[in-house]
Amino acid sequence: MTLNANRIREDFPILKRKIYGKPLVYLDNAATTQKPRQVIRAINDYYENYNSNVHRAVHLLSQEATKAYDDAHEKVGNLIGAKIEEVAFTKNTTESLNMVASSLGQKLKKDDEIILTRMEHHSNMVPWQQAAKRTGAAIKYAEIDGNGELDMRQMRQLIGKKTKIIAFTHISNVLGTINPAKEIIAAAKEAGAITVVDAAQSVPHMLVDVKKLDCDFLAFSAHKMLGPTGIGVLYGKEEMLENMEPMLYGGDMISEASYEDAKWNELPWKFEAGTPNVAGAVGMAAAVEYLQKIGMQNIQEHEKKLTATAMKKLRQIEGLTIYGPEAPKRGGLVAFGMDGVHTHDVSALLDLQGIAVRGGHHCAMPLAKLLGINGSTRASFYIYNTPEEVDMLADALENVAARMRNPGK
């Protein structure tokens, strides 16, 4: 079965919008995706029909809300091959990574080492820098080669007795590189290091099975996979989460409290202090259902085709440089630079033709510096994008190049 993007588009009201009188071509999916009616409806349905707090009251509304909220954990767990105890809801990937970094950070000692890669998003870099500063641990970086792929030989050399944590992005949000997660995790295991996977760009686009990966932690956000903003996931192996201190304390995360002390609730609730984002959870569950119906493998296949077409077309544009590796080592995004034209001008001129892309450093400032650029323009694809839209992007980029080369026209 292949994916029918034109059929899927019908589910997305926003895709009917006109931008400056032109049809919207939405290619900023690595930043956030659009939402189908099914997700919007599920959120509305919660607020209109069973809005209530969860895990507390015994009234019917609360029972329904609690069931929907708990089921959402199960559905999300099912997507990645995890048990409900291993799925804690957070605000987003960033919060999930901060939770792990601040909690694991407490156990670090001076001269312990954390390994990151040169292609991390700020959210999987800055929390570790802070943990290292607090404890005197050191951060080592796995290098990337000229293709934007990890230098695995060098990374293996970094891994040693002192390595306590290896945190890495599954798919780079700038280069599109699909990192060899299994290989990295296996190498980490040998050294007894804990592995943390930033899966913000992978879980929405491919089948990710945490048991097959054998990672200790994995983080992602709902809004990059058709779900609402404000809800994300921290997956952790049960024994890891058992041994991990919560970051927030308060209601619903305790099993017992006295004036002096408290005991923590069971997993995953120990990590979900306070009234949670119930509507978000309901929306995320609807998004997961929607994606599973299409099939994660079909989604990856669809994006692969679009990306291959985009790479081919963009290569034909004079003065355009594409960053990152070739397929099959690349996910569904293409970041590029145009000679002599600032990325803000490229993205603004595309916007004026109805095409939404992202320009800038994509929250990976050190990587931009390493590549020797101020930033790049990024087109990122999802289930509702079509080959025609890729053509429109290529044509629009030709226009941008012509305009910037011949000012005044």
Binding site: Y20, H342, H344, H361, N374, G375, R403
Partner: protein, 131 residues
């Protein structure tokens, strides 16, 4: 409907971007202030010569997007002969009147980079003098 690309990238903006006015390094400026927008890497250095509390000469160097560089070019022409107090009092709306485009909430930072650099430079200069 006017083509929005024609508005934002109208000829005057493109002209100032392609052929920036007062571009280059000034010899012994009274003020030289470099500013930078980390989000997009736009940068400008504003250089001023002062006389009797007025801007006598203004020049800039920099690199970045059309709007940031065109705004810097247009500003150097605009502030010549202005009192430094008046220059410091200039607002976002003053700057947008000079460049005569509406860059929108995201790129307004590009449009404001040169003015902010100029103002920071003057304020720093005055503070040093007062010490």
């Amino acid at each position: 409907m006017k083509d929005p690309a024609e508005e934002l990238y109208r000829e005057e903006i493109m002209d100032h971007y392609q052929n920036p006015r007062n571009y280059g390094k000034m010899e012994s400026p009274d003020i030289a202030y470099h500013d930078y927008n980390p989000v997009c890497g736009d940068e400008v250095e504003m250089q001023l010569k002062l006389e009797d509390g007025m801007v006598k000469e203004a020049m800039f160097t920099g690199k970045g997007c059309t709007i940031s560089q065109a705004a810097a070019s247009m500003l150097t022409g605009e502030v010549r002969g202005k009192g430094i107090k008046d220059a410091v009092a200039m607002t976002q709306s003053d700057m947008l009147k000079i460049i005569r485009i509406n860059p929108g909430p995201v790129r307004v930072k590009c449009a404001m980079l040169a003015l902010r650099a100029l103002q920071k430079g003057i304020i720093q200069h005055e503070a040093a003098k007062a010490r």
